[in-house]
């Protein structure tokens, strides 16, 4: 079971969390003005990197906040967790 460091509550067991998919995909300001290609890109297309991945988690059974994490998908080790809205930490391969 993963041990995930909530930016608010500290290290907590995975049981308290839900995964929220790739991070840093902002909903377009005015979706109606987007081309179908751009909307498709936003809606469906996601990176699936081998290595560091910025992803959303929610401390569902804790403070209930969404936050972001950098996790290495090959080792399951977390490099960093940070609050929603904060930029992806520098360091580590993209």
């Amino acid at each position: 079971m993963l041990l995930i460091t909530c930016p608010y509550c500290g290290p907590r067991p995975e049981l308290e969390f839900s995964h929220g998919g790739e991070a840093h995909i902002a909903r377009p300001e005015k979706p109606s003005e987007l081309s179908i290609e751009d909307w498709t890109q936003y809606l469906y297309l996601r990176a699936n990197p081998k290595g560091l991945h910025a992803e959303r988690w929610r401390h569902l059974h804790g403070c209930a906040r969404f936050f972001n994490a950098l996790r290495d998908t090959t080792t399951d080790q977390f490099v960093a967790t940070y609050k929603a809205g904060e930029p992806r930490p520098t360091g580590g391969a993209a």
């Binding site: 079971m1 993963l2 839900s18 902002a26 979706p31 809606l43 929603a84 809205g85």
Partner: protein, 995 residues
């Protein structure tokens, strides 16, 4: 006492406590402290099982959890039957009843052993090659028979009556293994002050020290040192010692699964005591001191009962006071066997020969054996054995170099000890995703880079000697805890060369000789060579083709020898052949331990509403809706569901019905930006919804498909009372929180689940208002003051209420929300007031029929995640003027308005007595044969008592343009003709909602 192989003295078992037990129906005597294996050996019982595939007679080869052969079943009673236990781990208790496995009719005479005679015809991959033709025979003949013949042991037939517990635990340092390295690690780690847990799979802590005789530590006999060390550890408040506790799995981020066996060793366990406790231990640091596993030698006929690992023989002698035989041949490529030979010699066992593969064995142990006059034969290979149910001779051949042997000599014996050296137990390290490296000197894989906060110590990383294991363990424990401690251990013990041999021994016995590599899975060198000949190069493929290293054994005794054989045939160095992945569990784990308390009534939470007990008292039949129990119908007398539902439906439409809607999800959306937030989330427009008004809300996902719906009431300008589907409540709240927290954090609005704050009593039917009139205070129920789709706050029987005038039945309807603790009392008050008005309780089944008669959808029944609001006829709900809402952009995609999309329609069967199956397909023409062109499917189908005929809702391609068309629903009894009709079957004008 007649135990012919028991020594006169010595051993850790309690000679003062004799214990009787049975094996295959025969009663024997052993002592407290014996294992089943040691007690059987003491009684001269060598034969303990039949092998998996060839049914060859087998005895124990090991003394611990690495035992691949002696798998037995232990039965306490009909329900307590545990198969596939290692006899080497089964502790004796008075009356223990055990039996061997994989034999019929008896262990000594086993019909299945014809497989052994047929073995030239059942090599590796035999099943894949043979049972392929004719294809139909697989299902009817091959598979059932193979399944009957395969497998080990049998399952108990009754539910497990024992109690199992799980628990979470945390520590700063977890030490796995209670041998010298583990004990030293715990001693050091404890001085760091943090919590230390030491877990060991054996019945006693001590590991190899339990079998030691002549070593001293810090000037004391190792036994004394062990006792003192255990006492000092047990006295430390920060140390937890777990014995009979197997660390079976290394999970992510230093979570280790440990099963602790609490009662299996007791003759009469207390029923309240859990049989096992599964510890989920999260450790900041882990010290793996898992020790090593002795490697068998791979030579022809190496699986006869009476042939066992040399160090196991030493354990039987020193720990259990059992001689493995009276005249013993020792075959070895490693110094450790000399230690066993010396101990046996001292105990009076005749050492017939020590056949050493090495040309010039030297070192203190070898010299000691020479000094004791033991007959050492250098450069000598064991090339065969003979004997039926027990070995009677060993065949020894001089090695002539380059895989050649000279003329053999037959040596009579009743036991053969073998040793190829020790394989570090890297199972847990490998499970932790640590990287191994090949050590060409030790001929083994050793832990290299850790992936977790973990360090290996002692024999499991190749530090085999007692002195270096203690030092290594202590250093690891100190480093893990951060304790600034150092300690030296003064050890006096004969130490040998740690190097051994791997792979097959040379022999002159021809290609059909059976030299076993994997005892448990019956894999021989021939099978491995065959796999390579047939083109398998990767060890992972060879493993699966031959089954070597698989199943519960996980290659404990076999992995390295298999690698050696394969590397030899492939002419590749071992690191290029690789190593198979070690799987958890290390040894089998009971289902009970994994389940813990989560069984029966505690398998899942059972959610009941405040009104549940009333419904139960009325004889309601319940159904599961997510975790909720919901009353499905209220049968009277001998009514079945169909009769009850018809009566309930008619009663609601003729008088009034009362329905428990408490499970509906409820979310309070509060804040100055509440309406703005609702505008962005739901397809509807909310700005103009007045306070005290309600609206039916539709929620789409960003892809434009309907995901939830429900009535939303505006309690105040900045407060909405949102309802969701029963099953959708957590999902909708999560989705709302997602948008609010991550996309629109600036909005001043907050969400609170109020699902369980409110009990909800739905009152539906023409008499609803009359029933309520006498109950409410401060609420004007008149149609003018409280029209359809409005709400009022006031009191009902003195209890504060939010009263909604809404209808999911098409009748005049109210939903009474009261705080949950008052739910039942208010329900009963309404129930009493409704008696003169024909009030009838109804359940979810009637609710479904009533709403279908009105064409109201159920999200998840009419919709399946691919339906847009328009597909299900909800275009009217979409706020088209809104610039944006979740899903709006997707709804503008061309595919979303294709005319042939499936659309919600009503269906009438031509024969009103026929009720379609929900899920049935719809086709355009009759008489089609598969593959048919399917144009739709039935989503809801009921018999409508009030209409006197069946009704159905369906999603049909281009359905709304097909009104009046005749279509067909294929069924097992033929095509059922149907006609496409509007979705509203009853009261299409909607007059009844006004009473």
């Amino acid at each position: 006492m007649n135990a012919p192989f028991r020594t006169a003295a010595g051993g850790r078992h309690d000679r003062g406590r004799p214990v009787s037990f049975s094996f295959d129906g025969k009663t024997y005597q052993g002592f407290a402290g014996d294992t089943l294996a040691s007690a059987l050996l003491a009684n001269g019982v060598c034969l303990m099982g039949r092998s998996f595939k060839y049914h060859r007679p087998r005895g124990v080869i090991a003394a611990g959890s690495d035992e691949p052969n002696a798998l037995v079943s232990v039965q306490r009673d009909a329900a307590r039957y545990a198969p596939n236990l290692r006899a080497t781990q089964v502790e004796l208790y008075e009356g223990l009843s055990s039996e061997s496995q994989n034999r019929w009719p008896s262990l000594a005479f086993d019909v299945g052993s014809v497989n052994n005679l047929a073995s030239p015809f059942i090599p590796a991959g035999f099943y894949y090659k043979t049972f392929m033709w004719p294809r139909k025979a697989w299902d009817r003949f091959y598979e059932p028979n193979i399944r009957a013949a395969a497998g080990l042991g049998r399952s108990p037939t009754e539910a497990d009556p024992d109690r199992y517990l799980n628990r979470y635990a945390h520590c700063e340092v977890l030490v796995v293994g209670g041998g010298p390295a583990g004990l030293a690690a715990a001693l050091a780690a404890a001085q760091g002050g943090g919590r230390v847990i030491l877990a060991d799979e054996q019945t006693e802590l001590g590991g190899s020290l339990l079998s030691a005789t002549d070593a001293t530590i810090d000037g004391k006999p190792s036994d004394d040192w062990l006792a003192e060390t255990l006492a000092s550890l047990a006295a430390l408040p920060n140390v937890t010692l777990l014995k009979r506790a197997t660390a079976f799995g290394y999970f992510a981020h230093n979570m280790i699964g440990v099963t602790e066996r609490l009662t299996d060793h007791l003759a009469a366990p207390n029923a309240a005591t859990p049989r096992e406790r599964l510890w989920n231990i999260r450790a900041k640091q882990v010290v793996l001191a898992a020790g090593s596993i002795e490697r068998p030698l791979v030579f022809p006929d190496n699986d006869r009962p009476g042939i066992l690992l040399a160090d196991a023989a030493r354990t039987y002698l020193n720990r259990y006071g059992v001689k493995p035989g009276k005249r013993v041949v020792v075959a070895t490529g490693h110094d450790g066997a000399y230690r066993a030979a010396l101990d046996l010699h001292r105990a009076g066992v005749e050492i017939a020969a020590i056949a050493d593969l090495r040309p010039n064995p030297t070192g203190p142990l070898v010299e000691a054996a020479r000094a004791a006059g033991l007959p050492i034969r250098p450069a000598c290979a064991i090339t065969g054995t003979s004997g039926g149910l027990r070995v009677i001779t060993a065949r020894l051949s001089p090695i002539k170099g380059a895989g050649q042997v000279g003329p053999a000599q037959i040596v009579p014996c009743d036991a053969v000890l073998m040793s190829g050296g020790f394989t570090p137990s890297v199972h847990l390290f490998s499970q932790s995703r640590g990287k191994l490296r090949w050590d060409q000197d030790l001929l083994t894989y050793l832990p290299d880079q850790s992936a977790e906060q973990e360090r290996s110590a002692g024999a499991c990383r190749g530090r085999f000697g007692l002195a270096e294991a203690l030092a290594d363990g202590f250093a690891a424990g100190a480093a893990a805890s951060g304790a600034e401690v150092s300690r030296t251990f003064a050890v006096e013990a004969l130490e040998g060369d740690p190097r051994g041999v791997i792979g097959a021994l040379p022999h002159d016995r021809g290609v059909n000789a059976k030299a076993f590599v994997d005892w448990q899975n019956d894999v021989t060198t021939k099978d491995l060579k065959l796999a390579v000949r047939e083109g398998f190069q990767s060890i992972e493929h060879i493993k699966r083709y031959t089954t070597t290293g698989m199943a519960t054994d996980q290659g404990k005794t076999s992995n390295l020898n298999a690698l050696g054989v394969v590397a030899d045939v492939l002419h590749k160095p071992i690191p290029e052949v690789g190593l198979t992945t070690f799987r958890m569990p290390y040894t089998p784990v009971t289902f009970g331990a994994l389940a813990g308390l989560a069984r029966g009534d505690l398998f899942d939470p059972v959610r009941a509403t405040p009104i549940h007990d009333w419904a139960a008292e009325q004889g309601a039949v319940f159904e599961d809706v997510s975790l909720w129990k919901r009353a499905r119908y209220f049968p009277r007398g001998s009514e079945d569901m169909e009769a009850a539902v018809r009566r309930e439906c008619v009663s609601v439409r003729a008088g009034c019905g009362i329905f428990d809607a408490s499970t509906l999800g409820k979310i309070e959306v509060v804040g100055p930006d509440a309406a703005e937030f609702m505008n962005r989330m739901y397809v509807n427009a909310w700005t103009k919804l007045g306070v005290g008004k309600c609206r039916y809300g539709v929620l789409c996902r960003e892809d434009g498909f309907v995901t939830d719906d429900g009535v939303v009431g505006r309690i105040a300008k900045d407060r909405f009372h949102v309802t969701t589907t029963t099953g959708g409540a957590p999902r909708v709240l999560g989705m709302m929180e997602d948008y609010l927290q991550t996309e629109w954090p600036d909005l001043n609005v907050w969400l609170t689940s109020t699902t369980e704050q409110w009990a909800v009593i739905a009152l539906q039917g023409p008499n609803a208002r009359r029933i309520l009139e006498g109950l409410v205070e401060g609420i004007d129920l008149s149609p003018e003051a409280l029209p359809h789709m409005s709400l009022a706050e006031g009191r009902i029987r003195g209890v504060p209420t939010r009263l909604f005038r809404v209808s999911f039945s098409g009748e005049l309807g109210f939903e009474i929300n009261v705080a949950a603790d008052h739910g039942r009392a208010v329900w009963e008050a309404v129930w009493a007031a409704g008696q003169p008005h024909g009030l009838t309780p109804y359940g979810t089944e009637t609710m479904h029929v009533l709403r279908a008669e009105k064409g109201f959808i159920i999200v998840g029944q009419e919709t399946d995640g691919t339906a847009t609001p328009d597909d299900v006829g909800l275009t009217w709900a979409v706020g088209k003027a809104k610039p944006d809402f979740v899903g709006k952009r997707s709804l503008a995609r061309p595919a979303m308005s294709e005319p042939d999309r499936k659309q919600l329609v009503g269906l009438y069967t031509d024969d009103g007595a026929v009720v379609l199956e929900e899920g049935a397909q719809i086709v355009a023409t009759a008489g089609q044969t598969p593959p048919m062109r399917l144009i739709g499917h039935v989503t809801s189908s009921y018999y409508s008592a009030v209409l006197g005929r069946s009704i159905a809702l369906a999603m049909v391609s281009g359905g709304r343009a097909r009104l009046g068309e005749s279509l067909y629903s294929p069924s097992p009894v033929g095509d059922i003709p149907v006609k496409v009709v509007p979705t509203v079957f009853y009261d299409p004008e909607g007059a009844r909602v006004n009473g």
